[in-house]
Every structure is written in C-alpha cells, then in structure tokens.
C-alpha cells in the first residue's frame, strides 16, 4: 500500500486500528529481520493525533519506519552496531521533526549495515536482513531494513541514508523507488555521520508520488546543519511532462547482467519513442568512482567513528588499561574495522598525497565531467546496479565485488547531484531498475521522468 491508500484506510477504519494492525504485523511477522526496534509509544501518539481533531496534515497518521542511524527522540539509535546497543536518542533529527510536524507516526527503527557500511545488509550486529522478494537473497544495503520494511508491506515509506548508493541500491534490489536528493537539500542533523561530505538522507517508497511528497516535507534549510541549502524548493508539478534530453553512457553497460542490460535498453528505446532525445555520451572519469569513494568515505569514517570509544556513551567494556581499544574491538564488526583501518592508512603521513589528495582530485574531475554533461542534458540514465541480488552469504568473502556493485550509484554522491532509482521490469523474483541523475537542485525533473516510467507500465 502507498501513502494515498494508507490515508484512505485510516479514514475508513480509524487511525488507532490501522496503527495497531501495523504494530502487530511487525511484531509477529517480521520474518525479514527488517526492524531492530519498534516504537512502543506509537499507539499513544496515534491517540493524541486523533484527539487533536483535524485530519489536515499531509501525512496525518501515515506510518513510517526510520533507518537506525537517524535520531528519533526516546528511541534506540544503534546504527546496526553492538557498540550502541543500548543508546537512546535524546533528541529528534531535523527530518524526524519535519515528518512529525506533518503528522507522520514513527513505528520503528530499521536494520542496516553497521554505521551504514555495506551493500548487502549482512554487516549488521542484529543479523542479516532478508529480501522480501526472495528471503534467501540479500536486500541490498546499507538501508536494507528500510527497503525490506517497504517492500515487505509493513509501511509505505522508510527513510534511509545514501552515501554511495545506500538508498537506491536496496530500493532496486527490493523493487521500490529510492531517491537521493542533492547534497545540502536535506538536513543531516541527527544522522549519525559516516562520510559527512557524501551522506544524504532519502526516502524509499512504493511510488514516485510518495517520494516527491516526502522529499518536499523533509527538505529545506536547517540552522542545525550549515551545509543545508536555502534554495527555494520548486512547486509540485503534476504531469509537467516535457521532452527531455537524456544522456546514456552505453559503453558502461556492455558487461553488466544480461537481464538488467536488456530491460534498460528497452526502457531507453521506449523513452525515445515517447519523444525524448537520447544522446550517446561518454563518462570517462567513472573509472575513478569506486576507488575515490573507498578512499574518501573511509578517510572520513575513520575520523567520524573516533568518537565511539565507550567513555561518554556506548557499550563500554570495563577494562582498566585498554578500555577504549577493547571497547572498540568488541563493539565494532569486521567491515567497520576494515574501513576505519583503510581510512586511517590513506590519511597517514607519507601516504595521504598518493591516496587522499588524489581521491579529492578524482572527485573534482568526476564532478566536472558530470556538470559539463548537464550543460547539454536534462538527465543522465544508467541502470541502478550492474548486478541482481545475490544469496545471503554468497559474496561474504569477496569484498571487492560488493564495493564494485556501487559503480553506477557512487557518482551522484561524489558530485552531490540528485538521483532516483525506479523499478522497470520483473525478471524472476527481482526487478531491474533504471537510475536517473539530474543537475543540482533539479529534483522535479527526476520525479517527472519517474512518473513517466511508472506510466509506461514499469513495476506498477
């Protein structure tokens, strides 16, 4: 069910009844391990909302799940880590305040790769998440629990965070819409930092209209995040259909999964028949994308995660001489340790020029190439992922396979550009998805093309 259908159900059955059903469903039927914790006070909150009378808020009573690295007041904030197993957030993230002001009810916190590091949701201290489309397979990551909570029909919307594709890739693996806004469009206040220059919060939904609605509510200037932008948010445009100029780097899709490639090319052909101009483009600098991401994100992570030492908060391991190092060893999982070590190494004296400074240069040239493309293009299209979901455990020993799977999603993070992933066709259990990128703050174009893809007979 999407937001519109939930609103209808609430109107018909009453808010408390609907929320009670959702909570029972999560508690009894979360066979996908999508949730880490639930909001035990949500029924009281629903009652309060009902007593307030008017049902005139855009998200009145709409149940939403939240990735467990986003702060929700008085709820657990584990970040998928043992180290924060008992941490309770004292405040709401800005996105949560905005959702609550719009009438939304937060039903629970979703499972994730520890500190958002991972692409399969197998690196959670709370166990792997299963893909609702086939529970033997991964749901993607790191927002895998969020994606499973929407795909598994527990909630119509979930918020995730996207540092290298962590919203779009799990959305694609589970047949949902995933969206990363322009860097600076959505406040990061209350999002546990992984890689501060790349992180953005974004929604996972059932359709593009819901994505557009949530985006409108959570975005905008916030004094608590000085990187948030005060640029005006465009008005909602329904059916503003226009013929767009769409760039496609065809060379990049030669060696990807055959079904994904076929579905992508068919979609592009259909867009051409609909009147859009398709331009073959090159995207030379994408060859630097994954290494650049792995250097910059790990460097920032090694610094951001230094605060988790068990002194002021966290799951402290009481040990007189090595309190911090023992706490961090027992608190962090293997992927977090790996990335913090890589990040520390690439920043260390004697190596920072070779790795970190070159990565900053590569980030710059990737951004420049994309910006140049958008002088002549409205959109750039690629498949969201080069591969389909894999079985849980199948790729555990192949770290580089997981890293390379983010090839098509990482450029939007490195350049700060917005991007949307939309399912286009089902093959067996899973969907192929198409990803569109646009120029900074041109989110409306993404929603417009997304709605067109849906009308073309994509997933729904």
């Amino acid at each position: 069910m999407n937001i519109f259908q939930y609103k209808k159900k609430i109107k018909k059955n009453g808010l408390k009844k609907v929320i009670r059903e959702i909570m029972e469903n999560i508690k009894k039927n979360d066979k996908y391990n999508a949730f880490i914790s639930v909001n035990e006070k949500v029924l009281e909150e629903a009652e309060k909302l009902e007593k307030n009378g008017k049902n005139n808020k855009p998200l009145h009573g709409v149940p939403i799940s939240i990735k467990d690295n986003i702060a929700v007041k008085n709820q657990k904030l584990t970040c998928g880590s043992n180290l924060l197993a008992n941490f309770i957030s004292p405040y709401d993230a800005t996105v949560i305040k905005r959702l609550k002001n719009a009438g939304a009810l937060i039903v629970g916190k979703t499972n994730m790769d520890e500190f958002a590091m991972g692409a399969s949701n197998e690196y959670s201290a709370y166990g792997p998440v299963k893909n609702p489309l086939n529970p033997e397979y991964v749901p993607g990551g790191s927002s895998g629990g969020s994606a499973a909570s929407v795909s598994g029909n527990f909630v119509p919307v979930s918020l995730g965070s996207d540092t290298g594709g962590s919203v779009r890739q799990p959305a694609s693996f589970t047949g949902c819409v995933g969206f990363k806004p322009t860097y600076g469009r959505v406040s990061r206040y209350g999002l546990t930092a992984f890689s501060s220059s790349l992180d953005q919060i974004g929604p996972i939904t059932k359709n593009v209209d819901d994505t557009s609605l949530i985006y409108r509510i959570i975005s905008g200037k916030d004094n608590m995040d000085s990187t948030s932008s005060d640029r005006k948010i465009e008005e909602y445009k329904e059916n503003c259909k226009k013929e767009y100029s769409i760039g496609v780097p065809f060379d990049l899709i030669e060696d990807i999964d055959e079904d994904i490639k076929k579905d992508f090319l068919e979609t592009i052909e259909q867009l051409k028949n609909n009147g859009h101009t398709i331009k073959k483009i090159s995207f030379e600098t994408i060859k630097y994308a994954v290494p650049t991401y792995q250097i910059i994100s790990t460097a920032e992570a090694s610094s951001n995660l230094a605060r988790f030492d068990g002194i002021i908060y966290g799951n402290r391991k009481q040990n007189e001489k090595n309190l911090v190092s023992v706490t961090r060893d027992r608190g962090f999982g293997i992927e977090v340790k790996r990335r913090c070590m890589v990040g520390t190494f690439v920043l260390s004296s004697g190596y920072s020029d070779k790795y970190y400074k070159n990565a900053l240069k590569a980030k710059k040239i990737i951004s420049k190439e994309l910006k140049n493309h958008f002088k002549n293009l409205d959109l750039l299209a690629l498949p969201t992922t080069p591969n389909k979901p894999f079985k849980i455990g199948e790729k555990s020993d192949d770290v580089l396979y997981l890293y390379k799977g983010d090839l098509f999603t990482i450029p939007a993070n490195l350049s700060g550009l917005p991007a949307i992933s939309i399912p286009v066709k089902k093959n067996g259990d899973f969907y192929s998805s198409i990803q569109f990128m646009s120029n900074s703050f041109q989110e409306e174009i993404l929603f417009d093309i997304g709605r067109e893809i849906e009308k073309m007979g994509g997933k729904k």
């Binding site: 932008s229 908060y313 190494f345 260390s348 040239i365």
Partner: protein
C-alpha cells in the same frame, strides 16, 4: 601492498585485534589498497581539490551555551555513573 603495517594502524585507531582477526583483515585491506591505487595515475596538479562540488556555503556560528531540555537524557546514556557524574576507570601507568 607491502607498506601496510597493521600494528601501527591498530595503535592509530585505538583498537585491539586478536592475532587471528588480524590475519583475516590484513589480506582484505591489502586487496583494497591495491584496487584503489588506480587513482595514482591522476597527475593534473592544477585541480583545486578543495573547491566545493555544490554551491552550498559553510556558515560559522558564534558558540552560545544553551540549557537543553535533554541534558538528563544525555546523562542516562552514560555507561557508568556515580551520582550525577560520568564514571571512568582509574588509569595509572606508563602505557
């Protein structure tokens, strides 16, 4: 990647690892570092890598002290408390 010294990195990031864990993680990190070396061929010295990618501005605020309503909640997250104070283990020694 022979340059990677896991013992030094362990100290820098303040983390204990058993020998077995160390062996497993070292191989992965060496593979990762070999892979990311791809960017070593970027030689353009004219690139201003500190220039921002998007047009957002950092704003510097004057620090102001505010009494936050959630002070009590922050203290509730202390791993160990003595009365209203954060408790840490006594640490004496050279290392």
């Amino acid at each position: 990647m022979s340059d990677f010294n896991i013992s030094k990195i362990k100290k820098l990031i303040n983390i204990d690892l058993s020998e077995k864990k160390e062996e497993n993680i070292k191989k992965d990190i060496e593979d990762i570092l070999d892979y990311v070396e791809k960017i070593a061929d970027i030689e353009d010295s004219k690139i201003n890598y500190f220039e921002k990618s998007v047009d957002v501005q950092n704003i510097v605020h004057i620090d102001t002290i505010e009494k936050k309503e959630y002070e009590k909640k922050i203290k509730e997250n202390f791993p160990k408390k003595i009365k209203d104070y954060l408790a840490v283990p006594k640490y004496l020694g050279d290392d």
